[in-house]
Protein backbone atom coordinates (compact mmCIF):
# COMPACT_ATOMS: atom_id res chain seq x y z
CA UNK A 1 0.00 0.00 0.00
CA UNK A 2 1.61 3.22 -0.98
CA UNK A 3 -1.23 5.15 -2.59
CA UNK A 4 -3.13 7.55 -0.37
CA UNK A 5 -6.24 7.14 -2.53
CA UNK A 6 -7.88 3.77 -3.03
CA UNK A 7 -10.86 2.92 -5.19
CA UNK A 8 -12.93 -0.17 -4.81
CA UNK A 9 -16.23 -1.89 -4.38
CA UNK A 10 -17.85 -2.71 -1.07
CA UNK A 11 -17.90 -6.53 -1.05
CA UNK A 12 -19.83 -6.84 2.20
CA UNK A 13 -21.38 -4.77 4.92
CA UNK A 14 -21.22 -6.07 8.49
CA UNK A 15 -22.70 -5.05 11.83
CA UNK A 16 -21.27 -3.97 15.19
CA UNK A 17 -18.80 -5.91 17.39
CA UNK A 18 -17.61 -8.34 14.72
CA UNK A 19 -15.13 -10.26 16.88
CA UNK A 20 -11.91 -11.96 15.86
CA UNK A 21 -13.40 -15.42 16.48
CA UNK A 22 -15.98 -14.62 13.79
CA UNK A 23 -13.29 -13.22 11.50
CA UNK A 24 -10.88 -16.10 12.05
CA UNK A 25 -11.95 -19.01 14.30
CA UNK A 26 -9.55 -20.27 16.96
CA UNK A 27 -9.36 -23.72 15.42
CA UNK A 28 -7.22 -22.34 12.58
CA UNK A 29 -4.74 -20.50 14.79
CA UNK A 30 -2.09 -23.09 14.24
CA UNK A 31 -1.87 -21.99 10.61
CA UNK A 32 1.10 -19.67 10.69
CA UNK A 33 1.52 -19.00 6.95
CA UNK A 34 -0.15 -15.61 6.62
CA UNK A 35 -1.06 -16.19 2.96
CA UNK A 36 -3.12 -19.27 3.86
CA UNK A 37 -5.25 -17.55 6.50
CA UNK A 38 -7.51 -15.95 3.87
CA UNK A 39 -8.97 -19.38 3.10
CA UNK A 40 -10.72 -19.36 6.49
CA UNK A 41 -12.00 -15.78 6.65
CA UNK A 42 -15.42 -15.66 8.36
CA UNK A 43 -15.45 -19.48 8.19
CA UNK A 44 -18.04 -20.16 10.89
CA UNK A 45 -20.56 -17.39 10.50
CA UNK A 46 -20.52 -16.03 6.96
CA UNK A 47 -18.13 -17.98 4.73
CA UNK A 48 -20.08 -16.91 1.63
CA UNK A 49 -18.44 -13.48 1.85
CA UNK A 50 -15.13 -15.00 0.76
CA UNK A 51 -16.38 -15.83 -2.72
CA UNK A 52 -17.76 -12.32 -3.16
CA UNK A 53 -14.41 -10.61 -2.54
CA UNK A 54 -12.53 -9.50 -5.64
CA UNK A 55 -8.97 -8.27 -5.13
CA UNK A 56 -8.98 -4.72 -3.77
CA UNK A 57 -12.61 -4.78 -2.60
CA UNK A 58 -13.52 -3.16 0.70
CA UNK A 59 -15.33 -4.37 3.80
CA UNK A 60 -17.57 -1.93 5.66
CA UNK A 61 -18.50 -2.60 9.29
CA UNK A 62 -20.09 -1.05 12.36
CA UNK A 63 -18.45 -0.19 15.66
CA UNK A 64 -15.73 -2.14 17.48
CA UNK A 65 -14.68 -4.22 14.45
CA UNK A 66 -12.12 -6.88 15.37
CA UNK A 67 -12.85 -6.97 19.10
CA UNK A 68 -11.64 -9.89 21.16
CA UNK A 69 -8.45 -11.84 20.68
CA UNK A 70 -5.16 -10.26 19.59
CA UNK A 71 -4.76 -12.94 16.91
CA UNK A 72 -3.02 -11.35 13.97
CA UNK A 73 -4.38 -14.09 11.73
CA UNK A 74 -7.71 -12.25 11.81
CA UNK A 75 -6.15 -9.26 10.08
CA UNK A 76 -4.07 -11.45 7.80
CA UNK A 77 -7.19 -13.39 6.78
CA UNK A 78 -8.95 -10.17 5.75
CA UNK A 79 -5.91 -9.03 3.79
CA UNK A 80 -5.10 -12.33 2.10
CA UNK A 81 -8.73 -12.95 1.17
CA UNK A 82 -8.10 -9.98 -1.11
CA UNK A 83 -9.61 -7.09 0.85
CA UNK A 84 -7.98 -3.74 0.02
CA UNK A 85 -9.20 -1.80 3.06
CA UNK A 86 -11.67 -2.02 5.95
CA UNK A 87 -13.91 0.94 6.74
CA UNK A 88 -15.67 0.82 10.10
CA UNK A 89 -17.51 3.05 12.52
CA UNK A 90 -14.74 2.01 14.90
CA UNK A 91 -12.08 -0.63 15.43
CA UNK A 92 -10.95 -2.52 18.49
CA UNK A 93 -7.45 -1.24 19.12
CA UNK A 94 -5.41 -4.41 18.60
CA UNK A 95 -7.11 -5.16 15.30
CA UNK A 96 -6.46 -1.58 14.16
CA UNK A 97 -2.78 -1.81 15.00
CA UNK A 98 -2.47 -5.25 13.41
CA UNK A 99 -3.98 -3.84 10.21
CA UNK A 100 -1.51 -1.00 9.98
CA UNK A 101 1.34 -3.38 10.80
CA UNK A 102 0.32 -5.78 8.04
CA UNK A 103 -0.19 -2.94 5.57
CA UNK A 104 -3.98 -3.19 5.44
CA UNK A 105 -5.62 0.26 5.52
CA UNK A 106 -8.19 0.56 8.33
CA UNK A 107 -10.37 3.65 8.05
CA UNK A 108 -12.58 4.98 10.83
CA UNK A 109 -15.77 6.53 9.45
CA UNK A 110 -19.08 6.30 11.32
CA UNK A 111 -20.67 8.22 8.43
CA UNK A 112 -19.53 5.73 5.81
CA UNK A 113 -20.52 2.82 8.05
CA UNK A 114 -24.02 4.25 8.23
CA UNK A 115 -24.50 5.29 4.60
CA UNK A 116 -22.40 3.22 2.22
CA UNK A 117 -24.16 0.19 0.70
CA UNK A 118 -23.01 -3.24 -0.38
CA UNK A 119 -21.66 -3.37 -3.96
CA UNK A 120 -21.21 0.39 -4.04
CA UNK A 121 -18.03 1.85 -5.58
CA UNK A 122 -16.19 4.24 -3.27
CA UNK A 123 -12.90 6.09 -3.08
CA UNK A 124 -10.88 6.46 0.11
CA UNK A 125 -8.46 9.29 0.76
CA UNK A 126 -6.44 8.03 3.70
CA UNK A 127 -4.57 11.26 4.40
CA UNK A 128 -7.38 13.75 3.89
CA UNK A 129 -9.80 11.46 5.70
CA UNK A 130 -12.66 11.14 3.22
CA UNK A 131 -14.84 8.43 1.75
CA UNK A 132 -16.41 9.42 -1.59
CA UNK A 133 -19.46 7.63 -2.99
CA UNK A 134 -18.59 7.51 -6.66
CA UNK A 135 -22.14 7.15 -7.98
CA UNK A 136 -23.33 10.35 -6.33
CA UNK A 137 -20.12 12.22 -5.56
CA UNK A 138 -21.17 12.50 -1.92
CA UNK A 139 -18.14 12.98 0.34
CA UNK A 140 -18.26 11.43 3.81
CA UNK A 141 -15.90 12.28 6.66
CA UNK A 142 -13.35 9.77 7.92
CA UNK A 143 -10.58 10.05 10.50
CA UNK A 144 -7.32 10.95 8.75
CA UNK A 145 -4.51 8.51 9.48
CA UNK A 146 -2.09 9.77 12.07
CA UNK A 147 1.41 10.34 10.70
CA UNK A 148 2.91 7.32 12.43
CA UNK A 149 0.31 4.96 10.95
CA UNK A 150 0.60 6.64 7.55
CA UNK A 151 4.36 6.11 7.56
CA UNK A 152 3.94 2.40 8.34
CA UNK A 153 1.26 1.94 5.69
CA UNK A 154 3.36 3.77 3.14
CA UNK A 155 6.21 1.36 3.81
CA UNK A 156 3.83 -1.58 3.25
CA UNK A 157 3.65 -2.48 6.93
CA UNK A 158 5.92 -2.89 9.91
CA UNK A 159 8.11 -5.67 8.54
CA UNK A 160 9.27 -3.77 5.41
CA UNK A 161 9.56 -0.61 7.55
CA UNK A 162 11.90 -2.26 10.06
CA UNK A 163 13.72 -4.20 7.37
CA UNK A 164 14.67 -0.92 5.73
CA UNK A 165 15.64 0.61 9.07
CA UNK A 166 17.78 -2.23 10.41
CA UNK A 167 18.85 -4.43 7.52
CA UNK A 168 19.00 -2.28 4.39
Amino acid sequence: MSAVKLRGRVAAKLGDNIDTDLIYPGRFLNITDREKTGEHLFELAFPEIRSRIRPGDFLVAGKNFGCGSSREQATAAVKYAGVGAVIAAGFARIFFRNSINLGLPAVVSPEAAARVQENEEIELDLIAGTVTRLATGEVLAAAPLDPRAAELLAAGGLIPYLKKKYAP
Binding site: L29, N64, S69, S70, R97
Partner: protein
Protein backbone atom coordinates in the same frame (compact mmCIF):
# COMPACT_ATOMS: atom_id res chain seq x y z
CA UNK B 1 -3.29 18.99 36.75
CA UNK B 2 -1.76 15.66 37.73
CA UNK B 3 -1.50 12.42 35.81
CA UNK B 4 -3.41 9.14 35.86
CA UNK B 5 -1.40 5.97 36.44
CA UNK B 6 -1.35 5.15 32.71
CA UNK B 7 -0.02 8.64 31.96
CA UNK B 8 2.63 8.40 34.67
CA UNK B 9 3.94 5.06 33.49
CA UNK B 10 4.01 6.06 29.82
CA UNK B 11 5.73 9.36 30.70
CA UNK B 12 8.45 7.55 32.62
CA UNK B 13 8.90 4.91 29.91
CA UNK B 14 9.16 7.51 27.15
CA UNK B 15 11.49 9.84 29.03
CA UNK B 16 8.98 12.67 29.33
CA UNK B 17 8.18 14.89 32.26
CA UNK B 18 4.47 14.50 31.55
CA UNK B 19 2.17 13.20 28.84
CA UNK B 20 -1.47 13.90 27.99
CA UNK B 21 -4.14 11.74 26.34
CA UNK B 22 -3.93 11.51 22.51
CA UNK B 23 -0.19 12.22 22.44
CA UNK B 24 1.91 9.64 20.64
CA UNK B 25 4.88 8.40 22.65
CA UNK B 26 7.55 5.78 22.08
CA UNK B 27 7.88 3.82 25.30
CA UNK B 28 10.61 1.41 26.38
CA UNK B 29 9.20 -2.07 26.97
CA UNK B 30 10.12 -3.77 30.25
CA UNK B 31 8.66 -7.20 29.50
CA UNK B 32 7.49 -8.90 26.29
CA UNK B 33 5.22 -11.96 26.67
CA UNK B 34 4.23 -14.52 24.06
CA UNK B 35 2.69 -17.98 23.99
CA UNK B 36 2.28 -20.34 20.99
CA UNK B 37 2.04 -17.32 18.73
CA UNK B 38 5.74 -16.76 19.45
CA UNK B 39 6.06 -18.85 16.30
CA UNK B 40 4.32 -16.11 14.29
CA UNK B 41 6.48 -13.52 16.03
CA UNK B 42 9.56 -15.56 15.20
CA UNK B 43 8.63 -15.66 11.53
CA UNK B 44 8.09 -11.91 11.37
CA UNK B 45 11.33 -11.35 13.31
CA UNK B 46 13.29 -13.50 10.85
CA UNK B 47 11.72 -11.57 7.95
CA UNK B 48 12.94 -8.29 9.44
CA UNK B 49 16.40 -9.81 9.30
CA UNK B 50 18.00 -8.66 12.57
CA UNK B 51 20.32 -11.32 13.99
CA UNK B 52 19.55 -11.08 17.72
CA UNK B 53 16.57 -10.15 19.86
CA UNK B 54 16.94 -6.85 21.73
CA UNK B 55 17.12 -8.37 25.20
CA UNK B 56 16.78 -12.12 25.90
CA UNK B 57 16.22 -11.34 29.61
CA UNK B 58 13.05 -9.37 28.95
CA UNK B 59 11.28 -11.85 26.70
CA UNK B 60 9.05 -14.47 28.32
CA UNK B 61 7.53 -17.32 26.33
CA UNK B 62 4.99 -19.65 27.92
CA UNK B 63 3.23 -22.45 26.04
CA UNK B 64 -0.41 -22.58 27.09
CA UNK B 65 -2.92 -22.53 24.24
CA UNK B 66 -2.44 -26.08 23.01
CA UNK B 67 -0.64 -28.03 25.72
CA UNK B 68 0.37 -30.73 25.36
CA UNK B 69 0.42 -30.57 21.56
CA UNK B 70 -2.86 -31.89 20.17
CA UNK B 71 -1.68 -32.25 16.57
CA UNK B 72 1.43 -32.66 14.50
CA UNK B 73 1.11 -29.07 13.32
CA UNK B 74 1.12 -27.75 16.89
CA UNK B 75 3.99 -30.07 17.79
CA UNK B 76 5.99 -28.49 14.96
CA UNK B 77 5.11 -25.01 16.26
CA UNK B 78 6.23 -25.91 19.78
CA UNK B 79 9.44 -27.38 18.41
CA UNK B 80 10.22 -24.29 16.34
CA UNK B 81 9.70 -22.09 19.42
CA UNK B 82 12.00 -24.25 21.56
CA UNK B 83 14.73 -24.08 18.93
CA UNK B 84 14.39 -20.30 18.64
CA UNK B 85 14.45 -19.86 22.43
CA UNK B 86 17.65 -21.88 22.58
CA UNK B 87 19.29 -20.11 19.63
CA UNK B 88 18.51 -16.64 21.00
CA UNK B 89 19.32 -17.43 24.64
CA UNK B 90 15.84 -16.37 25.77
CA UNK B 91 15.95 -16.68 29.55
CA UNK B 92 12.38 -17.21 30.56
CA UNK B 93 10.74 -20.08 28.73
CA UNK B 94 8.03 -22.17 30.37
CA UNK B 95 7.57 -25.40 28.45
CA UNK B 96 4.82 -28.02 28.76
CA UNK B 97 4.56 -29.09 32.40
CA UNK B 98 6.63 -26.18 33.73
CA UNK B 99 4.11 -23.39 33.74
CA UNK B 100 0.47 -23.03 32.82
CA UNK B 101 -1.51 -20.10 31.49
CA UNK B 102 0.86 -17.31 30.55
CA UNK B 103 -0.77 -14.60 32.65
CA UNK B 104 -0.83 -16.75 35.76
CA UNK B 105 2.75 -17.91 35.26
CA UNK B 106 4.02 -14.33 34.87
CA UNK B 107 2.21 -13.36 38.06
CA UNK B 108 3.19 -16.24 40.29
CA UNK B 109 6.83 -16.05 39.29
CA UNK B 110 7.06 -12.35 40.07
CA UNK B 111 7.90 -11.25 36.53
CA UNK B 112 5.64 -8.19 36.63
CA UNK B 113 6.30 -5.27 38.98
CA UNK B 114 4.49 -1.96 39.47
CA UNK B 115 5.35 0.77 36.99
CA UNK B 116 6.45 -1.61 34.22
CA UNK B 117 5.40 -1.44 30.58
CA UNK B 118 4.37 -4.98 29.62
CA UNK B 119 3.25 -6.05 26.15
CA UNK B 120 1.96 -9.48 25.26
CA UNK B 121 0.73 -11.21 22.14
CA UNK B 122 -2.46 -11.99 23.98
CA UNK B 123 -5.38 -9.66 24.48
CA UNK B 124 -5.73 -10.56 28.16
CA UNK B 125 -2.33 -9.06 28.90
CA UNK B 126 -4.36 -6.32 30.61
CA UNK B 127 -4.41 -8.78 33.57
CA UNK B 128 -1.06 -7.38 34.73
CA UNK B 129 -2.58 -4.05 35.60
CA UNK B 130 -3.40 -5.88 38.83
CA UNK B 131 0.33 -5.52 39.57
CA UNK B 132 0.41 -1.80 38.76
CA UNK B 133 1.91 -2.32 35.29
CA UNK B 134 0.78 -0.69 32.07
CA UNK B 135 0.08 -3.97 30.30
CA UNK B 136 -1.55 -4.39 26.94
CA UNK B 137 -2.05 -6.86 24.11
CA UNK B 138 -0.41 -6.50 20.71
CA UNK B 139 -0.22 -8.55 17.52
CA UNK B 140 2.56 -10.89 16.49
CA UNK B 141 4.23 -8.62 13.94
CA UNK B 142 4.20 -5.76 16.40
CA UNK B 143 5.90 -8.06 18.88
CA UNK B 144 8.56 -8.84 16.29
CA UNK B 145 9.15 -5.07 16.26
CA UNK B 146 9.51 -5.12 20.06
CA UNK B 147 11.93 -8.05 19.87
CA UNK B 148 13.89 -5.92 17.39
CA UNK B 149 13.77 -2.49 19.01
CA UNK B 150 12.70 -2.95 22.64
CA UNK B 151 10.20 -0.12 22.37
CA UNK B 152 6.79 0.59 20.95
CA UNK B 153 4.63 3.58 20.05
CA UNK B 154 1.47 4.23 22.00
CA UNK B 155 -1.26 6.78 21.86
CA UNK B 156 -1.62 7.90 25.46
CA UNK B 157 -5.10 6.73 26.50
CA UNK B 158 -7.60 8.76 28.45
CA UNK B 159 -8.62 7.08 31.70
CA UNK B 160 -11.92 5.87 33.00
CA UNK B 161 -11.99 5.57 36.79
CA UNK B 162 -14.30 3.06 38.43
CA UNK B 163 -14.80 3.41 42.19
CA UNK B 164 -16.52 0.53 43.91
CA UNK B 165 -17.98 0.65 47.40
CA UNK B 166 -20.19 -1.68 49.38
CA UNK B 167 -20.04 -5.37 50.25
CA UNK B 168 -20.64 -8.32 47.99
CA UNK B 169 -23.60 -10.48 49.04
CA UNK B 170 -22.84 -14.19 49.50
CA UNK B 171 -21.69 -15.88 46.25
CA UNK B 172 -21.04 -12.59 44.49
CA UNK B 173 -17.42 -12.19 43.40
CA UNK B 174 -15.07 -10.04 41.35
CA UNK B 175 -16.30 -11.92 38.26
CA UNK B 176 -19.85 -10.77 38.90
CA UNK B 177 -18.68 -7.19 39.47
CA UNK B 178 -16.76 -6.97 36.22
CA UNK B 179 -19.50 -8.70 34.20
CA UNK B 180 -21.95 -6.18 35.64
CA UNK B 181 -19.69 -3.28 34.66
CA UNK B 182 -19.16 -4.67 31.14
CA UNK B 183 -22.92 -5.05 30.80
CA UNK B 184 -23.34 -1.41 31.75
CA UNK B 185 -20.57 0.04 29.59
CA UNK B 186 -20.79 -2.31 26.59
CA UNK B 187 -18.20 -4.26 24.59
CA UNK B 188 -16.64 -1.02 23.37
CA UNK B 189 -17.29 0.99 26.53
CA UNK B 190 -13.59 1.31 27.32
CA UNK B 191 -12.17 1.12 23.78
CA UNK B 192 -8.71 2.74 23.60
CA UNK B 193 -8.98 3.80 27.24
CA UNK B 194 -7.18 2.91 30.44
CA UNK B 195 -9.32 1.88 33.39
CA UNK B 196 -8.46 2.49 37.05
CA UNK B 197 -10.40 0.44 39.60
CA UNK B 198 -10.37 1.66 43.17
CA UNK B 199 -12.53 2.05 46.22
CA UNK B 200 -12.88 0.03 49.43
CA UNK B 201 -14.48 -2.98 47.71
CA UNK B 202 -11.59 -3.30 45.26
CA UNK B 203 -8.97 -2.82 47.98
CA UNK B 204 -10.60 -5.61 50.00
CA UNK B 205 -10.18 -8.09 47.09
CA UNK B 206 -7.44 -10.72 46.93
CA UNK B 207 -4.75 -10.27 44.29
CA UNK B 208 -6.32 -13.16 42.34
CA UNK B 209 -9.67 -11.36 42.29
CA UNK B 210 -8.06 -8.10 41.21
CA UNK B 211 -6.57 -10.00 38.29
CA UNK B 212 -10.14 -10.91 37.26
CA UNK B 213 -11.07 -7.22 37.02
CA UNK B 214 -7.99 -6.27 35.00
CA UNK B 215 -8.27 -9.37 32.81
CA UNK B 216 -11.90 -8.92 31.80
CA UNK B 217 -11.55 -5.17 31.24
CA UNK B 218 -10.26 -6.25 27.86
CA UNK B 219 -13.80 -7.36 27.06
CA UNK B 220 -14.94 -3.76 27.14
CA UNK B 221 -12.02 -2.75 24.95
CA UNK B 222 -9.62 -1.44 27.59
CA UNK B 223 -6.05 -0.82 26.53
CA UNK B 224 -4.87 -1.22 30.13
CA UNK B 225 -6.63 -1.66 33.46
CA UNK B 226 -5.26 -1.06 36.94
CA UNK B 227 -6.13 -2.03 40.48
CA UNK B 228 -4.38 -0.27 43.37
CA UNK B 229 -0.81 -0.97 44.42
CA UNK B 230 -1.15 -1.47 48.17
CA UNK B 231 0.34 -3.43 51.01
CA UNK B 232 -1.49 -6.60 50.03
CA UNK B 233 -0.03 -6.46 46.52
CA UNK B 234 3.47 -5.58 47.72
CA UNK B 235 3.34 -8.55 50.12
CA UNK B 236 2.25 -10.80 47.24
CA UNK B 237 5.19 -9.57 45.15
CA UNK B 238 7.68 -9.86 47.99
CA UNK B 239 6.70 -13.52 48.43
CA UNK B 240 7.30 -14.19 44.74
CA UNK B 241 10.38 -12.10 44.05
CA UNK B 242 12.17 -12.67 47.34
CA UNK B 243 12.70 -8.95 47.79
CA UNK B 244 10.87 -5.94 49.14
CA UNK B 245 9.47 -3.51 46.62
CA UNK B 246 9.23 -0.12 48.28
CA UNK B 247 5.95 1.66 47.65
CA UNK B 248 6.26 4.77 45.53
CA UNK B 249 4.08 7.60 44.37
CA UNK B 250 5.02 6.43 40.87
CA UNK B 251 2.64 3.49 41.41
CA UNK B 252 -0.49 5.56 42.06
CA UNK B 253 -2.37 8.20 40.09
CA UNK B 254 -1.96 11.81 41.24
CA UNK B 255 -4.82 12.95 43.46
CA UNK B 256 -5.61 15.69 40.93
CA UNK B 257 -5.39 13.47 37.85
CA UNK B 258 -7.75 14.26 35.00
CA UNK B 259 -10.28 11.50 34.21
CA UNK B 260 -12.45 11.22 31.16
CA UNK B 261 -15.17 9.81 33.37
CA UNK B 262 -15.63 8.56 36.92
CA UNK B 263 -18.09 5.74 37.41
CA UNK B 264 -19.28 4.77 40.89
CA UNK B 265 -20.65 1.35 41.69
CA UNK B 266 -22.33 0.47 44.97
CA UNK B 267 -21.89 -3.29 45.14
CA UNK B 268 -24.31 -3.73 48.05
CA UNK B 269 -27.13 -2.11 46.13
CA UNK B 270 -26.36 -2.93 42.50
CA UNK B 271 -24.99 -6.46 42.79
CA UNK B 272 -27.60 -8.37 44.71
CA UNK B 273 -26.97 -11.64 42.92
CA UNK B 274 -24.41 -13.30 40.63
CA UNK B 275 -24.24 -12.09 37.02
CA UNK B 276 -24.19 -14.15 33.82
CA UNK B 277 -23.03 -13.08 30.34
CA UNK B 278 -25.40 -14.73 27.86
CA UNK B 279 -24.69 -15.86 24.28
CA UNK B 280 -23.07 -14.50 22.17
CA UNK B 281 -21.57 -11.37 23.69
CA UNK B 282 -19.71 -10.62 26.90
CA UNK B 283 -21.79 -7.46 27.38
CA UNK B 284 -25.06 -9.40 27.17
CA UNK B 285 -25.17 -9.58 30.96
CA UNK B 286 -28.16 -10.52 33.08
CA UNK B 287 -28.69 -11.23 36.77
CA UNK B 288 -28.60 -14.96 37.40
CA UNK B 289 -32.28 -15.13 38.36
CA UNK B 290 -33.21 -14.30 34.75
CA UNK B 291 -31.38 -17.33 33.32
CA UNK B 292 -31.85 -19.85 36.14
CA UNK B 293 -33.00 -23.20 34.75
CA UNK B 294 -31.29 -23.06 31.34
CA UNK B 295 -30.08 -26.67 30.79
CA UNK B 296 -26.30 -27.07 30.52
CA UNK B 297 -24.32 -29.93 28.98
CA UNK B 298 -20.88 -28.80 30.08
CA UNK B 299 -19.38 -26.69 32.83
CA UNK B 300 -15.85 -25.26 32.68
CA UNK B 301 -13.85 -23.88 35.58
CA UNK B 302 -10.56 -22.48 34.40
CA UNK B 303 -8.79 -19.91 32.20
CA UNK B 304 -6.70 -16.78 32.79
CA UNK B 305 -9.87 -15.21 34.15
CA UNK B 306 -10.94 -17.74 36.78
CA UNK B 307 -8.63 -20.76 37.08
CA UNK B 308 -6.83 -19.75 40.24
CA UNK B 309 -6.76 -21.36 43.68
CA UNK B 310 -9.66 -19.33 45.09
CA UNK B 311 -11.71 -20.34 42.03
CA UNK B 312 -11.02 -24.05 42.55
CA UNK B 313 -11.79 -23.54 46.24
CA UNK B 314 -15.19 -22.02 45.42
CA UNK B 315 -15.99 -24.88 43.04
CA UNK B 316 -14.89 -27.45 45.61
CA UNK B 317 -16.99 -25.81 48.30
CA UNK B 318 -20.11 -26.17 46.17
CA UNK B 319 -19.25 -29.69 45.00
CA UNK B 320 -18.11 -31.18 48.31
CA UNK B 321 -20.16 -34.31 48.88
CA UNK B 322 -22.26 -33.71 45.76
CA UNK B 323 -22.23 -35.10 42.24
CA UNK B 324 -22.17 -33.48 38.84
CA UNK B 325 -25.57 -33.99 37.19
CA UNK B 326 -25.76 -37.20 35.07
CA UNK B 327 -26.49 -35.25 31.87
CA UNK B 328 -23.75 -32.67 32.51
CA UNK B 329 -19.97 -32.90 32.51
CA UNK B 330 -17.64 -30.59 34.40
CA UNK B 331 -14.11 -29.75 33.29
CA UNK B 332 -11.70 -28.13 35.71
CA UNK B 333 -8.46 -26.66 34.43
CA UNK B 334 -6.12 -25.23 37.06
CA UNK B 335 -4.41 -22.13 35.66
CA UNK B 336 -0.91 -23.36 36.45
CA UNK B 337 1.15 -26.28 37.70
CA UNK B 338 1.65 -24.41 41.00
CA UNK B 339 -2.09 -23.99 41.43
CA UNK B 340 -2.70 -27.64 40.60
CA UNK B 341 -0.14 -28.70 43.17
CA UNK B 342 -1.58 -26.42 45.83
CA UNK B 343 -5.13 -27.58 45.03
CA UNK B 344 -3.99 -31.19 45.48
CA UNK B 345 -2.38 -30.31 48.81
CA UNK B 346 -5.56 -28.62 50.03
CA UNK B 347 -7.80 -31.50 48.94
CA UNK B 348 -9.75 -29.52 46.33
CA UNK B 349 -8.75 -31.81 43.50
CA UNK B 350 -9.92 -34.88 45.37
CA UNK B 351 -13.25 -33.19 46.14
CA UNK B 352 -13.70 -32.21 42.52
CA UNK B 353 -12.81 -35.67 41.18
CA UNK B 354 -15.10 -37.38 43.68
CA UNK B 355 -17.90 -35.12 42.46
CA UNK B 356 -17.34 -36.36 38.92
CA UNK B 357 -15.32 -33.46 37.49
CA UNK B 358 -12.56 -34.11 34.98
CA UNK B 359 -9.28 -32.37 35.79
CA UNK B 360 -7.46 -31.20 32.67
CA UNK B 361 -3.81 -30.16 32.50
CA UNK B 362 -3.00 -26.52 33.28
CA UNK B 363 -3.40 -24.34 30.19
CA UNK B 364 -6.08 -22.48 28.27
CA UNK B 365 -8.20 -25.62 27.91
CA UNK B 366 -11.40 -25.28 25.88
CA UNK B 367 -11.61 -21.48 26.30
CA UNK B 368 -10.09 -20.82 22.91
CA UNK B 369 -11.89 -23.73 21.25
CA UNK B 370 -8.93 -25.68 19.95
CA UNK B 371 -8.83 -28.81 22.08
CA UNK B 372 -10.06 -30.50 25.26
CA UNK B 373 -13.73 -29.81 25.75
CA UNK B 374 -15.05 -28.67 22.37
CA UNK B 375 -18.83 -28.26 22.16
CA UNK B 376 -21.10 -30.00 19.65
CA UNK B 377 -23.90 -28.28 17.76
CA UNK B 378 -26.86 -27.73 20.07
CA UNK B 379 -24.83 -27.96 23.28
CA UNK B 380 -24.76 -25.35 26.02
CA UNK B 381 -21.84 -24.63 28.31
CA UNK B 382 -21.54 -22.51 31.43
CA UNK B 383 -18.00 -21.38 31.88
CA UNK B 384 -15.80 -19.29 34.15
CA UNK B 385 -13.80 -18.18 31.08
CA UNK B 386 -13.83 -14.84 29.30
CA UNK B 387 -15.53 -15.07 25.89
CA UNK B 388 -18.81 -16.45 24.61
CA UNK B 389 -18.59 -15.42 20.97
CA UNK B 390 -20.21 -17.58 18.27
CA UNK B 391 -18.12 -20.73 17.86
CA UNK B 392 -15.64 -19.70 20.54
CA UNK B 393 -15.66 -23.10 22.25
CA UNK B 394 -16.59 -25.31 19.30
CA UNK B 395 -19.63 -25.51 17.05
CA UNK B 396 -21.12 -22.27 15.77
CA UNK B 397 -24.40 -23.72 16.93
CA UNK B 398 -23.29 -24.09 20.55
CA UNK B 399 -23.99 -21.62 23.36
CA UNK B 400 -21.68 -20.34 26.07
CA UNK B 401 -22.78 -18.57 29.25
CA UNK B 402 -20.08 -16.88 31.34
CA UNK B 403 -20.26 -16.87 35.13
CA UNK B 404 -18.23 -17.23 38.32
CA UNK B 405 -16.67 -20.59 39.28
CA UNK B 406 -19.22 -21.04 42.09
CA UNK B 407 -22.13 -20.56 39.68
CA UNK B 408 -20.51 -22.95 37.18
CA UNK B 409 -20.11 -25.60 39.89
CA UNK B 410 -23.69 -25.14 41.12
CA UNK B 411 -25.01 -25.37 37.56
CA UNK B 412 -23.00 -28.54 36.94
CA UNK B 413 -24.69 -30.16 39.95
CA UNK B 414 -28.15 -28.95 38.95
CA UNK B 415 -27.71 -29.74 35.23
CA UNK B 416 -29.07 -26.26 34.59
CA UNK B 417 -28.02 -22.74 35.45
CA UNK B 418 -28.34 -22.46 39.22
CA UNK B 419 -27.41 -20.27 42.16
CA UNK B 420 -24.92 -21.85 44.60
CA UNK B 421 -27.50 -21.33 47.33
CA UNK B 422 -29.94 -23.58 45.44
CA UNK B 423 -27.38 -26.37 45.70
CA UNK B 424 -26.14 -25.75 49.21
CA UNK B 425 -29.68 -25.89 50.55
CA UNK B 426 -29.90 -29.47 49.35
CA UNK B 427 -28.62 -32.10 51.68
CA UNK B 428 -25.26 -33.62 50.94
CA UNK B 429 -25.58 -37.18 49.67
Amino acid sequence: MGMTLAEKILARASGRERVRPEEIVVAAVDLALSHENADLVRKSFLEIGVARVWDPERIVIILDHRVPAESERTAATHKAIREFVHAQGIQHFYDVGRGGICHQVLAENGHVLPGMVVVGTDSHTTTHGAFGAFATGIGATEMAGVWTEGCLWFKVPSTLRIEVSGRFPPWVSAKDLILYIIGRLGADGADYRAVEFDGPTVRALSVASRMVLANLSMEMGAKAAFTPVDERLLDYLAARTGRTIPDSEDFAPDPDADYERVLRVDASRELQEPQVACPHAVDNVRPLSQVRGVPVHQGVVGSCTNGRLEDLEAAAEVLRGRRVHPRTRLLVIPASQQILLEAIRLGYIQTLIEAGAMINPPGCGPCVGVHQGILAAGETCISSTNRNFIGRMGSKDSQVYLASPAVVAASAVAGEIAHPEDILQQEVA
